[in-house]
């Protein structure tokens, strides 16, 4: 849910402090003098505007460059990441938001098995931009202890990326699953859905089964359902129904313990989704301080329930960059509207068309 007064304050702040956003508002004849009654009337920024190739990200900030704490970049699948300038407040807000989202699943877990790379790997991708660090979006989050639901000794980051391929520590994962099963400990698997899916498929192939029951959870996030994440390409989409059934069978956990989060680099909060057998998909819920509008592709008006449209993300928590209203190039179906809309069936909007003899590339 979003507080309208607070949201309007955020809009005024980014209008006054970001010339680029002001230009967009002016072109849309949008005035902040009138009372804000309709969130869909607020001019948004298209998330692709932050792409490195456009080189506009230095103008998409609300504070002087010296106040940027870190420039974060997304795990782009096409080699053109988004770059966002974030203040320390933004980073804290993002970290808190992500932790809160995970804690909606389970407050604490005895054991965490995460398909994340070790922080030292992400740190290798750090560089300097405008005298400030430039790093992967999740780098500082993964480095922060607050993010983890288990103590350090019982948290296992399983991904081992190297130049040739990404591998994961299956033996360690099996050892910990066996330990959880035999001791009745709570255990959470999470991170990238692609590697979670690959691991579950491998367990099935090897005929390895666990009965974790109510003590087992899966919490994946940030895309990958199309089989692509960063440089990794599975070569096929992941069928959600098959994935949930696989997790249920192999780990012996209830379906409502299988969750997924939706988030983008341009937005500080994650939307957690619970699997719905009816929709054969996850239903994503709106976190605090955020709102969602699903906009129809035809007239860009808010979609009705059951309609597909572009996902627009809104928040009243803005500091370093103009992120109050971001239109993503993802689309989803609107399941329910109101103060905390629910959406499902997220997919990347098709952005290519045949240019043929008119294409310069």
């Amino acid at each position: 849910m979003i507080d309208l007064l607070r949201f309007k304050k955020a809009l005024i702040y980014q209008y006054e402090n970001c010339i680029a956003y002001r230009k967009i508002c002016t072109a849309a004849h949008f005035s902040l003098d009138a009372p804000l009654e309709d969130l869909s009337s607020v001019p948004f920024i298209v998330n692709s505007l932050f792409k490195r190739s456009l080189m506009l990200f230095p103008e998409l900030i609300c504070v002087p460059k010296e106040r940027i704490y870190v420039w974060t970049f997304s795990s782009s699948t096409n080699g053109d990441p988004s770059i966002i300038g974030r203040t320390l407040r933004d980073i804290r807000l993002r970290n808190r938001g992500y932790v809160q989202m995970r804690k909606q699943v389970i407050k604490r877990a005895d054991i965490s098995l995460l398909f994340f790379p070790p922080p030292r790997f992400l740190r290798k991708h750090r560089s300097i931009l405008f005298n400030r660090p430039l790093e992967p979006f999740l780098a500082s989050l993964i480095s922060s202890r607050a993010f983890y639901l288990s103590n350090k000794e019982n948290t296992f980051l399983l991904l081992n990326p190297n130049n040739k391929a990404v591998t994961f520590d299956k033996e360690q994962a099996i050892r910990q699953l066996e330990r959880a099963e035999s001791t009745g400990s709570t255990i959470i698997l999470g991170g990238s859905v692609i590697f979670t899916y690959l691991f579950l498929g491998w367990l099935k192939k090897k005929k390895i089964r666990f009965q974790l029951g109510n003590k087992g959870f899966i919490s994946t996030g940030a895309g990958g359902w199309d089989g692509k994440k960063g440089n990794f390409n599975l070569g096929e989409e992941i069928d959600k129904e098959e994935y949930v059934e696989l997790a249920h069978q192999v780990l012996g956990i209830p379906i409502d313990h299988i969750l997924d989060g939706y988030g983008t680099t341009e937005f500080p909060f994650m939307f957690y989704g619970r699997y719905s057998p009816e929709f054969k998909d996850f239903l994503y819920h709106t976190p605090p301080h955020a709102h969602v509008i699903i906009r129809r592709k035809d007239d860009l008006r808010p979609a009705d329930i059951g309609e597909r449209g572009f996902i627009e993300l809104l928040t009243s928590e803005v500091d370093g960059y103009p992120g109050a209203a971001i239109l993503t190039d993802d689309t989803a179906l609107l399941v329910s509207d109101g103060k905390d809309p629910i959406f499902t069936n997220i997919r990347r909007a098709s952005t290519s068309f045949k240019a043929g003899c008119a294409a310069f590339i």
Partner: protein
């Protein structure tokens, strides 16, 4: 459509080459007659293949049925006996030379087909298929059309529409699909001297076909990539509708579609008129919104607003966008100038157009220029640089017999000459 494997493509090509002997012996008038009869059918709104094609093309190309009908009406008007003979006369001089030796001064002259022309059909303008069929038949080359996986249907309907009139024509024409990597496998197995490879495409695909045909010594006709430009000496109101029409046809995705308008005079007022005209045309040819076109318009609007001093004339939806600015788009911006997205810039003298094209390295892509003036120096300069077709505003989509296609005559390139002295 199932992709053909190497052996099937080779067998198909060899069969067509064999059949070409028979095709050569048939009179040119036969093929013109077939095209004219088929053209009349396709111009009939009730023709079953037309109705079927409109339905399929609307779904696949994202163009509205009224727009597809307009494009069909323009294109199939060329399948007319008088017009086809005019095209032949202008492009190869003496049409009878395709049937036998004809006197040419002290010589006798005959034109021969190569044998087989393989057309690689591009996906941006569906009416290239009838154009390809016509130039293949007019030069008595057998035709193999390799359709795109995205739109494999229209060429098939065309072929069926000809077979409906003249069943024996099936021996000379085939439509097929094969994967991109198959070219390397089958082209080396064909008799290079009897093949023409005809391709319309973007920069990367043209480079690929130039390279492979040069390596295999195969005659190629390659068109693309290209773009259109409008230069107005006067910002007349009546031009706004004409230009909007040129923008809307093919949803501005054809190589001859305008991307940029240079205007002497009040360019902002003209941009506003153009927006009004596009708004009006949207009633006649409604835009079909796709995720790709919508997000491209939104992103491009914001990109230009933030990076350049521009004024936008655009509705809340993405049915069209007119950008007016004293700045000009960079070469890399051109990928946004499509699907009813046009840029209007002022000029005080015509030399600025040439300077801009040179500075932005756009000259290699220059093709159709709509120009309302008569400045001979400008016409000489811009054509010498590579503008192959100059038209009036609103006529960029009209191809008169004898009009240049990227600087060449296709019928000439599809035939070989023999002379007797």
């Amino acid at each position: 459509m199932k992709p053909l494997d190497r052996d099937k493509i080779i067998a198909l090509c060899l069969k067509l080459l064999e059949n070409n002997k028979k095709m050569c012996k048939m009179p040119l008038s036969y093929f013109i007659e077939v095209l004219e009869r088929a053209g009349k059918n396709w111009l009939n709104p009730d023709y079953h293949y037309r109705k079927k094609a409109i339905q399929v093309l609307a779904f696949i190309t994202g163009q509205s049925p009224p727009l597809i009908e307009e494009e069909m009406n323009i294109g199939f008007k060329l399948w007319n006996k008088d017009i086809l003979y005019q095209i032949l006369e202008k492009e190869i001089g003496i049409p009878d030379s395709l049937d036998g030796f004809v006197p040419l001064g002290n010589l006798k002259l005959r034109r021969w087909p190569y044998g087989l022309v393989i057309f690689n059909v591009s996906g941006n303008v569906f009416m290239v298929s009838p154009f390809m069929l016509a130039i293949g038949l007019l030069t008595k080359n057998c035709i193999l059309m390799r359709v795109s996986s995205r739109e494999p249907y229209f060429a098939g309907y065309l072929l069926d529409s000809l077979i409906e009139i003249a069943p024996e024509i099936e021996n000379f024409l085939k439509v097929a699909y094969w994967k991109r990597n198959a070219w390397e496998d089958f082209l080396p197995k064909l008799p290079a001297h009897r093949i023409v490879l005809f391709h319309l495409g973007g920069e990367a695909s043209c480079r690929y076909f130039r390279e492979i045909t040069a390596r295999l010594n195969i005659h190629s006709i390659i068109h693309g990539p290209a773009w259109g430009l409008i230069v107005l000496e006067e910002a007349k109101k009546e031009f706004a509708y004409d230009i909007a029409y040129d923008i809307v046809l093919w949803e501005q995705r054809a190589c001859h579609s305008p991307r940029l308008v240079f205007v002497k005079g009040d360019y902002q007022a003209f941009a506003s008129l153009l927006a009004e005209a596009l708004e009006g045309l949207n009633q006649r040819f409604p835009k079909i919104f796709s995720e790709a076109t919508t997000i491209n318009h939104l992103l491009a609007r914001q990109k230009f607003l933030v990076s350049s001093q521009v004024k936008l004339y655009a509705p809340p939806d993405t049915s069209y966008t007119v950008v007016s600015s004293s700045n000009r788009p960079r070469k890399k911006d051109f990928s946004h100038l499509t699907d009813r997205f046009i840029w209007v810039s002022p000029i005080t003298k015509l030399d600025e157009v040439i300077d801009y094209l040179e500075q932005e390295d756009l000259i290699p892509y220059l093709q159709t220029v709509a120009y309302d003036g008569r400045d001979e120096n400008f016409i000489r300069r811009i054509t010498s640089l590579g503008a192959s077709r100059l038209t009036s505003p609103g006529k960029m989509n009209q191809f008169l017999p004898g009009a240049s296609h990227d600087g060449v005559y296709n019928l000439n390139l599809l035939t070989k000459l023999s002379t007797i002295q």
